[in-house]
């Protein structure tokens, strides 16, 4: 097992090199750079723009810029400097990582807690009215873009006289110390992003859980368990569900990176303090190291998620062996 993990980690190294090159290429292929915004500013002369470019190192040839960046990461753990914030990139990302993980983590918890019981119900009550109804909701969940769902939820909340719309806290709690009231206020705000980000994933989970459980319920050992005279509850929960849930566990690892990218658009709509709006601004401004680091970070999470998924699967299913 340890050897397998080590080998997988070793494969990640050349992958990360390729990823970093791709990230850099994407940035460099963009028209203009951070200093483009000064060109239209009448107070800034072209000479000054050239000076700024030189100071930021943007006048150097692209391969050299890339090399300087990579060298900084490898030797000093320095991911570059944000032009707009005038601070090291890793500090900025670290600051916003907290809320991103809170929102993504809460969404994940929400989708599992909701999806698994519903999936079990749908499979054990196949073709019942509620099964059809939930399947239909699931179809809608997969078909609605998260940003539109966020808009609709905001609209409904406003219509019903809600005030906790947008952001994560009401005005008076921003910057206030943690109290019970502040926590309740957070929960009042959190449900819109939870549903907006999580609904499509939840719908997918329900469908998978339902399909897996239906497959397992056909298996011979389930028939045997029933024939032995075990109660239906034991048959379902002890024999069938455990095996039906196994393939889903591998999804756990993949979900976090996907949720983090899922928070981007929703966060922009709902004005949440996660990395989404931050990444968007950096993209628009051409804040290149910030964009590159964020892209690389999200790709790294994906690779890590893949690995975790495989490990979890092996851990939960003793039939899987590593060669």
């Amino acid at each position: 097992m340890a050897r397998y993990i080590l080998r997988r980690l070793a494969i990640m190294v050349p992958m990360m090199v390729l990823i970093s090159i791709l990230c850099f290429a994407v940035i460099k292929l963009q028209p203009g750079d951070f200093t483009t915004q000064y060109l239209t500013d009448p107070r800034v002369t072209p000479e000054m723009v050239a000076q700024i470019r030189a100071r930021l190192g943007l006048d150097q040839p692209a391969p050299l810029q890339y090399w300087t960046w990579v060298k900084g990461i490898l030797t000093r753990g320095d991911f570059g400097y944000s032009f707009a914030y005038k601070r090291p990139v890793q500090e900025l990302i670290w600051e916003r990582l907290g809320w991103t993980v809170v929102v993504a983590g809460a969404t994940m918890l929400f989708s599992w807690v909701v999806a698994i019981p519903i999936g079990i119900y749908s499979a054990t009550h196949k073709y019942s009215f509620l099964d059809y109804f939930l399947t239909f909701i699931g179809f809608i969940g997969v078909s609605i873009p998260s940003f539109f769902l966020a808009l609709v939820l905001m609209y409904l909340s406003l219509r019903l006289g809600g005030t906790a719309v947008g952001g994560l806290f009401s005005q008076q709690y921003i910057g206030a110390p943690w109290t019970w009231a502040k926590f309740v206020d957070l929960l009042k705000h959190l449900w819109i992003p939870l549903i907006a980000i999580g609904l499509s994933g939840t719908a997918g989970l329900i469908r998978l859980m339902r399909a897996n459980l239906l497959d397992v319920l056909q298996a011979q050992y389930v028939v045997t368990a029933r024939a032995k005279g075990l109660s239906e509850r034991v048959v379902i929960y002890k024999h069938a569900v455990r095996n039906a849930i196994n393939p889903l566990i591998s999804l756990l690892g993949m979900q976090l990176p996907e949720l983090i990218s899922g928070t981007i658009v929703t966060s922009i709509v709902l004005n949440l303090p996660t990395m989404g709006p931050f990444f968007y601004d950096a993209l628009i401004n051409g804040d290149q190291y910030l964009v590159m680091t964020f892209l690389m970070f999200s790709a790294f999470l994906m690779l890590l998620g893949n690995l975790i998924a495989d490990i979890l699967l092996a851990w939960s299913d003793p039939r899987i062996r590593f060669e």
Partner: protein
């Protein structure tokens, strides 16, 4: 009584299975309707989607009436004139129907002229008499007084066609890469697979956004449109390439391919005449199920202002106007284009599911 037997070909069986899938048929008809709607947009829309009306900014949808203020019923629907006033205290704009002005809605009326299939034309499916001064805004207007119904139809042209072109392009790349990878194997296969892994190791949304920033700001909206198509296709082809590769790996060992080779068929003929026809059903199902991703991708990019740009419009770009909370309170009708996104994606999902079931060769005939 003589039993009548009928032999059905594989494709007849497929059609039969597809027809038995009720949601799939529903999806098919909804999509046919939507595509007809946007193809004939200039004919169906009663107004020009680009004309700005200073007197009718942010006007709510005009209601169709069949019964007038005096309770008289008429089979021909009509609309009232819209009267704008300001709340004396909050200064909020209010719109009210002016029941003294009545404008009947006619079928096939003459309106603004447009070009369709090269013909100059001014006939519209329905509308109010253009010279009467009445206005018909089924979905209301935006902040420039442009008719949202017309804009939704024209926006649908962009959103729904981005899917078509995007999938064509994605298919070209995906099938080519997948066939090469699966048929030749070895080092080429390895290189292509690593490249696919590289692309797939990024979460979609950040990469979509980063790539769409690459479109130069001085490009015309037509160029930007094809830029968006290219970006969506560039990130979409990988899953298809994998499916095609798997099928090729499987089929190239089959006896019929060996037989073809023994008969002296070249690589090209084996790929195009013997293997590809066998996986067409997979391709069709994958294509249908890729539409939702394309539509959502285009909407997301345009919604964030990184995609389609004015004067062109798309459902995502139209929703961009509905972002603020004030708009939601005062002009909720600006969210209507979103319903079209959901309905079209839902319809594609239904149809894709039905096609998948219909093409399953192991399913028994319905």
């Amino acid at each position: 009584m003589a039993q009548e037997w009928k032999v059905l070909s594989q494709s007849q069986l497929m059609l039969r299975r597809f027809k038995a899938h009720r949601l799939g048929m529903l999806g098919f008809f909804v999509l046919a309707f939507l595509y007809l709607l946007v193809i004939f947009a200039p004919f169906i829309a009663p107004t020009d989607y680009l004309v700005q009306r200073r007197d009718y900014t942010n006007c709510p949808p005009t209601k169709l009436h069949w019964r007038d203020a005096d309770g008289r019923f008429s089979l021909r629907p009509f609309v009232y004139g819209m009267q704008r006033s300001r709340d004396p205290i909050t200064l909020e704009v209010r719109w009210e129907e002016d029941t003294s002005r009545k404008y009947p809605v006619y079928f096939l009326v003459r309106g603004h002229s447009y070009k369709f299939l090269g013909f100059q034309c001014d006939l519209h499916l329905f509308g109010v008499d253009a010279d009467s001064g009445g206005q018909l805004f089924l979905f209301g207007t935006d902040r420039f007084g442009r008719d949202l119904f017309a804009r939704t139809l024209y926006g649908g042209r962009v959103t729904l066609s981005v899917g078509v072109f995007g999938i064509l392009l994605s298919f070209l790349i995906g099938t080519a890469m997948g066939s090469i990878s699966g048929y030749y194997g070895g080092r080429v296969d390895n290189a292509i697979q690593r490249f696919i892994e590289l692309l797939r190791s990024f979460p979609r949304i950040p990469l979509w956004l980063a790539l769409s920033v690459m479109l130069p700001p001085n490009w015309s909206s037509v160029k930007v449109y094809f830029g968006v198509v290219t970006i969506l296709a560039f990130l979409d082809w990988t899953s298809l390439a994998r499916v095609v590769r798997g099928q090729f790996l499987n089929l190239r060992e089959k006896e019929f391919v060996e037989a073809a080779r023994a008969l002296g068929a070249g690589d090209r003929s084996i790929i195009f005449r013997h293997i590809l026809p066998n996986i067409v059903s997979y391709l069709v199902v994958t294509a249908t199920l890729s539409f939702p991703g394309m539509i959502m991708g285009e909407s997301t990019i345009s919604f964030l202002g990184l995609g389609i740009k004015e004067p062109m419009t798309s459902w995502g770009l139209l929703l961009r106007d509905a972002q603020s909370m004030d708009v939601m309170r005062m002009q909720p009708w600006l969210m209507i284009p979103g319903i079209f996104i959901v309905v079209s994606v839902l319809a594609f999902n239904f149809m894709g599911d039905a096609l998948r079931d219909a093409f399953d060769p192991f399913a028994t005939g319905a």
